[in-house]
Symmetry: C2
Subunit: 137 residues, 2 copies
DNA sequence: AATAAATACTACTTATTTGTAGCATATTAA
DNA sequence: TTAATATGCTACAAATAAGTAGTATTTATT
């Protein structure tokens, strides 16, 4: 019952960048600040670029910066881009076909949970986070 | 963002048994009904026994039956016994030390989510599930 | 044009989770 | 007391996720 490491990294990186959303960040700098393994972070940055959250500039003086306003990036979008958020909406019991007319015993309970989860992950944008009291990333 | 396979199996098995909570179920029968791999189910049953949800009777005419009333078994307890539910309460960002006086940027958002999740998983007992419309397990 | 500083790509290694096989142990009943 | 029918245990195998290494490519500065 958790996010994957990859999602954690993606969130930490983008949240860190969201503090000063107009800046350009190099991989090297992010690695130092966030203590994420070099190659893993770089691979992830490429994924996040392809997903459209950030854009990369190659070559000297290059780096990463946001590709769109951070109030348009939800936590849902971030997680969904690196591990499928469908998993959250998939059946808890691992059935691959389900409908409300063909439910299992957990249906009602799970529906409530997943609706709330979806709502909060969807509604929370990078810009909504509280950076005032932040002491760590 | 999901439960482990093992949790799924644990839930499916116990929910299936909860439909007729006084019955004795053999591993063989559960395997047939739930289409879970033989050895994996048996190993899991032993875990669930040790966790105190069910008790096993060895030997001929043996099997598994509930060790306590099903209104005392929450979904939280079940999942927590096979994969740590602590993971849910751990930091989303993978930090291993956190307190409310030392928060990160996601703190406020995540707190709301995890409180709701905890509440619903804790409050839902096996006996609360809707078996009326159940067509599958 | 050469150099420095950055990202992009491909293949490999390690760790974790999931699944399998085989044998040991326990209990009942003929 | 032996056969049948259960569960219990230990070690191994396969699949997936996480992390690492090395090389290629891009671009501004000199
Ligand atoms: S109704 Fe049951 S089978 Fe369908 S998604 Fe919900 S938990 Fe899964
Ligand atoms: S405050 Fe931040 S670091 Fe602490 S648990 Fe919440 S998300 Fe994790």
């Amino acid at each position: 019952m958790k996010l994957s490491k990859t999602s954690e990294y993606a969130l930490r990186i983008l949240i860190y960048m969201a503090k000063k959303p107009a800046d350009l960040y190099t991989a090297k700098y992010l690695i130092e600040q966030l203590h994420v393994s070099d190659k893993y972070l770089r691979r992830l940055m490429t994924e996040l670029s392809k997903a459209g959250f950030i854009k990369s500039t190659q070559g000297r003086d290059g780096g990463y910066t946001f590709a769109k306003p951070i109030n348009e990036i939800s936590l849902y979008d971030i997680i969904d881009s690196v591990e499928s958020m469908d998993k959250l909406n998939d059946c808890v019991l691992g059935f691959n076909e389900c409908s409300c007319t063909n439910p299992c015993a957990m249906h009602d309970e799970w529906l409530v949970i997943r609706q709330k989860l979806n709502k909060i992950f969807h509604e929370t944008k990078l810009s909504d986070l509280d950076f005032e009291h932040v002491l760590r990333y």
